[in-house]
């Protein structure tokens, strides 16, 4: 038995942000920290859900071109959206909500909440019109509607992991529906094995990777369909690109970046991802797997 298996840790899960949210903590006051992490995700859901009318996201979308005061973490979210949109050459686009709602994706997959989008809202190929002011206000262009979606889950995982480390955890893992962030103290040797599941058969493992510090995000085109609810395909683009693969997993330093790059991998390819030094794997509709050379470094 090695030191890792002797290390005390705990995990808890809850349904948050429409998915299974699992927080695992090793070291520190693990039980209290796990609860603290779950509560933090719940708080972020109140800020970023498109199904909660008082959320920052809903208030920004309903502002009709006016600036709206938002929580500082929402400022960070919008900043990440803009940066991810630029880095992925528009493959990640947070303004696709009108397309999703027009396709019928108007109901939460876990309860009866519905989302509302102004009928004049449309997709924006460029995010230059978003203004973030020094007084914590955000001004969206008229007819723009943001959706925190996957990048919101990724950033939530990042923020919670960083917070729990600062509160004394030795190593943490935050899993928000497959967007996973792991982090550890400098002097820790703890790491986390992660199974990448098949998009066609969720019970089948495609491969197992191991992460010491960083994140992995998996996205597949049917993610917004569950138990007969939702829509068949939720990956869209401002230029009407169609998905080239069924699912993609990306490993990066943060879950928000990993999540954004999965959209690029699904809509385009993994060459650009490889050139940035990140690791990616895609699975097409025939279950063919493509991966970057860097992906092998993580497979165990």
């Amino acid at each position: 038995m090695n030191a890792t298996t002797l290390t005390l840790g705990t995990r808890q899960h809850r349904t948050l942000m429409g998915v299974r949210c699992e927080v695992s903590v090793v070291g520190g006051h693990a039980f209290a920290l796990v609860e603290e992490g779950l509560q933090m995700v719940a708080d972020l859901e109140q800020l970023w859900s498109r199904f909660i009318p008082t959320s920052d996201i809903c208030r920004m979308n309903a502002a009709n071109g006016n600036s709206v005061w938002v929580e500082p973490r929402t400022i960070a979210l919008v900043g990440h959206m803009v940066a991810a949109h630029a880095a992925t050459h528009g493959a990640f686009n947070p303004t696709l909500l009108p397309v999703l709602t027009a396709a019928g994706d108007t109901r939460s997959l876990i309860d009866d909440k519905t989302s509302f989008v102004n009928e004049d809202a449309h997709v924006f190929p460029c995010l230059d019109g978003i203004r973030i002011y020094a007084d914590n206000t955000v001004q969206l262009p008229l007819h723009m509607a943001l959706d925190a979606g996957g990048i919101g889950k990724g950033l939530a995982a990042d923020l919670v992991a960083e917070h729990l480390l600062s509160r004394g955890a030795e190593s943490v893992c935050v899993n928000l529906g497959g967007d996973i962030r792991v982090s550890r103290q400098m002097n820790s040797s703890h790491d986390w094995p992660i199974q990448i599941m098949s998009p066609t058969n969720p019970q089948t493992t495609v491969c197992t990777i191991s992460l010491a510090e960083g994140a992995v995000a998996t996205s597949h085109i049917n993610a917004r369909q569950r138990d007969g609810h939702g829509i068949e395909q939720h990956i869209a683009s401002a230029t009407n690109e169609l998905p080239t693969v069924r699912a993609a997993s990306v490993i990066a330093s943060s879950a928000s970046w990993a999540e954004a790059w999965t959209k690029y991998a699904i809509l385009r390819d993994i060459k650009l991802i490889e050139s940035t030094g990140l690791a990616a794997m895609t699975i097409d509709s025939d279950d063919n797997i493509a991966e970057t050379s860097t992906w092998k470094e993580f497979v165990r």
Binding site: T137, C173, N175, E213, S253, L278
Partner: protein, 144 residues
């Protein structure tokens, strides 16, 4: 008398009760004195402040605002408003609601705070681990 055993013993020497009383008296006087000083200081400050305020107000170019037609226009329609308008001119003060409708040449100045760029750390490669099993194993399946 000094050593008479029939007499009660003399009271024990105390720490100069007279001094203590004096100290208390002084202490009791201090709040009043402080209050006087405070009141005097505040009064002087208030007088100086008011004097400065009136002096500055006198230098301000207010007659143009006072001469707007609001008071006169309304005066033809309503005696009460005329009265208000005239008194305003005399006192160099006009209610904002009276000047706003006709003073169309002056647009309200709306100053936006500066636009900021949110710092976002660049994506970098993650650090691989070694373990491939254990209680901490996770599953990444995409929004489930």
């Amino acid at each position: 008398m000094m050593n008479d055993p029939l007499l009660p013993p003399p009271p024990p020497p105390t720490n100069s009760p007279t001094k203590s009383t004096m100290t208390n008296k002084r202490t009791a006087k201090k709040p009043a004195r402080s209050a006087k000083i405070l009141v005097t200081g505040l009064s002087a400050t208030a007088v100086l402040g008011m004097a400065s305020g009136y002096a500055l107000a006198g230098e301000a170019p207010s007659p143009e605002i006072a001469n707007t037609n609001v008071g006169n226009t309304n005066a033809a329609q309503d005696g009460q408003v005329q009265s208000q308008g005239n008194s305003s001119v005399a006192g160099n003060t006009i209610a904002p609601s009276a000047t706003a409708p006709t003073d169309t040449s002056v647009a309200p100045v709306v100053t936006n705070p500066p636009v900021i760029e949110v710092p976002v750390p660049q994506a970098t490669p993650a650090t691989p681990g070694n373990s491939n099993s254990g209680w901490q194993q996770q599953q990444s399946s995409g929004s489930r």
